[in-house]
Amino acid sequence: AQTVTQSQPEMSVQEAETVTLSCTYDTSENNYYLFWYKQPPSRQMILVIRQEAYKQQNATENRFSVNFQKAAKSFSLKISDSQLGDTAMYFCAFLSGAGGTSYGKLTFGQGTILTVHP
């Protein structure tokens, strides 16, 4: 079974600065997807960014980018020019690309609470 670990329960950053959230995972698969979800106080689960394991290029979405290290099984999220609206819980998640019983099932990390200070 896959596991996802977020070792930073809480992080804080000043507005306009850059912050990096860490995520490691464990799998024996070669084909999979990794995600970062944002959960603001409103409780919504919002997809921030997605990375396909077979793509070497790191995914970017505006101020959000990832550092995907497949060999090290590491998937960190970098938020540039942090904004007050970035304050939220951030979850890293793994999705198997294989068929069978793992198909479609997300495995989440424990979450990191990010606070952006003015």
């Binding site: 977020q6 999979y32 919504q44 979850f91 479609g104 989440f108």
Partner: protein, 114 residues
């Protein structure tokens, strides 16, 4: 755009009572999921469905039952609620199970069992 709608948003139950959480999606998605979110543990999959009339167990299925009689609806039932089921419950849906077809989440249901 409604997306994924969960009913109710909040509920308080007494131990031993039963209830059903309703999830409805209007995106014609085949796959639907129920997760629970507990502090320090992220989201964990309870049950899921890959199409109308099908259901399957996830990581933490004990104490819950589900039904998918209509494609757009996925019901989560607690037959005899226990304090350990106090949690925030999320429903999600997707076109399929591939990573290129991301899951869309509802706004959650906060359930307290006294």
């Amino acid at each position: 755009n409604a997306g994924v709608t969960q009913t109710p948003k909040f509920r308080v139950l007494k131990t031993g009572q039963s209830m059903t959480l309703l999830c409805a999606q209007d995106m014609n998605h085949e796959y639907m999921y129920w997760y629970r979110q507990d502090p320090g543990m992220g989201l964990r999959l309870i049950h899921y469905s890959v199409g109308e009339g099908t259901t399957a167990k996830g990581e933490v299925p004990d104490g819950y039952n589900v039904s998918r009689l209509k494609k757009q609806n996925f019901l989560l039932g607690l037959e005899s609620a226990a304090p350990s089921q106090t949690s925030v419950y999320f429903c999600a849906s997707s076109y399929g199970g591939q990573g290129s077809q991301p899951q869309h989440f509802g706004d959650g249901t906060r359930l307290s069992i006294l």
